[in-house]
């Protein structure tokens, strides 16, 4: 650091070791989206994993709930500098969906209603580190927060936790998704401050 802003003290007492660098704790839950909020009903909802060979695995809403929804308490970190700590979620681990998917691809493109996409390495979605989330803070996910179902990848910046999830496309290369094409980092690790490229 090359200089200080004399007269700036900041909010003390809120610095928490669970906060990655450059992040500020919030109590509310800000909303960020690039376009209008899609309205998707659970009756129409499907989730499809498509392999690099084009094989499709598809789940309905009932299929999803049948896989077993688990409680998840996790911190989330948005690239716009806010974090929420110990947030209660419910969702189905991605491992459950990938159990019968045969792939040798290393990367995934998440596709969403409304056209949003984001790329994630497959290993970031497995081993109990990512979910298809359907509830947060004790309530079904509202449309503005990505309901009925969004990706939850809490160890990466929150734009990777794509709202209005409809499918995952396995891909051999780490092609950039929507925000990644607009200057955001390909991986987005908050502890490395991988915000922009």
């Amino acid at each position: 650091m090359s200089f200080v802003n004399s007269g700036f003290t900041g909010r003390r007492g809120q610095r928490d070791e669970r906060l990655p660098p450059g992040q500020t704790l919030v109590e509310d839950w800000p909303v960020l989206s690039a376009g209008p909020t899609p309205q998707v009903s659970t009756a129409d909802w499907t989730f499809t994993i498509t392999t690099e060979d084009g094989a499709e695995h598809r789940w309905s809403w009932d299929d999803l709930t049948g896989l077993g929804i688990e409680d998840v308490t996790t911190d989330i970190h948005c690239v716009t500098h806010w974090s929420k700590l110990a947030m209660p979620w419910r969702g189905v681990p991605l491992d459950a969906f990938f159990a019968d998917v045969d792939t040798s691809a290393d990367y995934v493109m998440a596709h969403c209603h409304g056209g949003y996409t984001t790329n994630v390495p497959l290993e970031d979605l497995l081993d109990g580190r990512a979910w298809v989330a359907v509830e947060a803070e004790g309530e079904p996910l509202t449309p503005e927060h990505g309901g009925p179902a969004r990706l939850l990848v809490p160890h990466l910046y929150f734009w990777k936790s794509a709202k209005w999830l409809r499918g995952l496309q396995l891909m051999p290369d780490n092609d950039p998704g929507f925000w990644e094409q607009h200057g955001y980092h390909l991986r987005g690790d908050p502890w490395q401050e991988e915000r922009y490229w």
Binding site: M1, S2, F3, V4, N5, S6, G7, F8, T9, G10, R11, R12, R15, G22, T24, V26, D28, P30, V31, L32, S33, A34, G35, P36, T37, P38, T80, H81, W82, G114, G115, E144, F178, W179, Q181, H182, G183, Y196, W197
Partner: protein, 244 residues
């Protein structure tokens, strides 16, 4: 225009002026600034004497290749960074600036001889990046039709009042939600759907639409725009958060 890579820059405050009772216009000189497109934003990082740092994002009201950056910062009650920027920061002070950021919620002049019209819809301080677009359009040869619908609480809360009044190539419609100027026939109230339909370019004209404001404002306006028949891909949104 090739994308300008985001980086940290040291900025020096060259002027501060009251924008409204709660907001301040801050002009920065950034010698290493690569320029920015209209609608982009920056992160501002403050460092306390003991090394504590806090960072927030702000839209940029200026655009183009120059090294001057104009911000208009509204003070968030109980905020951490905005009260310092609005009340304490002084001419000659330095701040760290990261940017330019955002390559989606931006407008650039079109080389198309018959470009699509552009509709801007602002709620409160959400006007900042939209003003940047209208100002950039004003300076360009781009012939697209521009309109701005600006929802604001009271006449005293209008950002860029003089600059908006001077725009010759953007039609500006103001709607007041709490109190209206004397002689305004519209009673102060929230924007209603019929007004949005009447005061914005219709879907038949296939405008590109930029909406910026609080989350409830953006949610409501973008839903009404879709219901009016605009294509989802034509509507770009940005919201300002409340973390101050």
């Amino acid at each position: 225009m090739t994308p300008r890579r985001a980086a940290w820059h040291r900025a020096t405050v060259v002027s501060v002026t009251a924008e409204t009772a709660t907001a301040r216009r801050i002009e920065l000189e950034v010698p290493t600034w690569p320029g920015n497109e209209a609608g982009s934003h920056v992160d501002i990082r403050l460092t306390a004497p003991d090394g504590y740092q806090a960072t927030r994002s702000y839209s940029v009201a200026s655009s183009g290749p120059g090294t001057r950056l104009v911000l208009a910062v509204d003070e968030v009650v109980d905020g951490e960074v905005s009260p310092f920027l609005v009340r304490v920061l002084a001419v000659g002070d330095s701040v760290e600036v990261h940017g330019p950021l955002g390559r989606f919620f931006v407008w650039t002049p079109s080389a198309d001889p018959d470009p699509a019209p552009v509709q801007l819809v602002a709620g409160g301080s959400g006007v900042v990046p939209l003003y940047a677009m209208a100002a950039a359009h004003e300076r360009s040869d781009d012939g697209s039709e521009f309109r701005l619908l600006y929802s604001v609480r009271t006449p005293d809360d209008v950002f860029f009042r003089r600059e908006l009044a001077a725009l010759r190539r953007t039609r500006v419609d103001l709607v007041h939600t709490r109190s209206a100027p004397e002689g305004d026939r519209r009673p102060p109230r929230r924007l209603v759907r019929e007004e949005l339909d009447r005061l914005t370019l219709g879907p038949a004209l296939a405008p590109r639409i930029f909406v910026c404001g609080s989350t409830p404002f953006v949610e409501t306006v973008s839903r009404w725009l879709l219901e009016a028949g605009h294509a989802p891909a034509a509507v770009r949104t940005e919201r300002f958060g409340g973390s101050g």
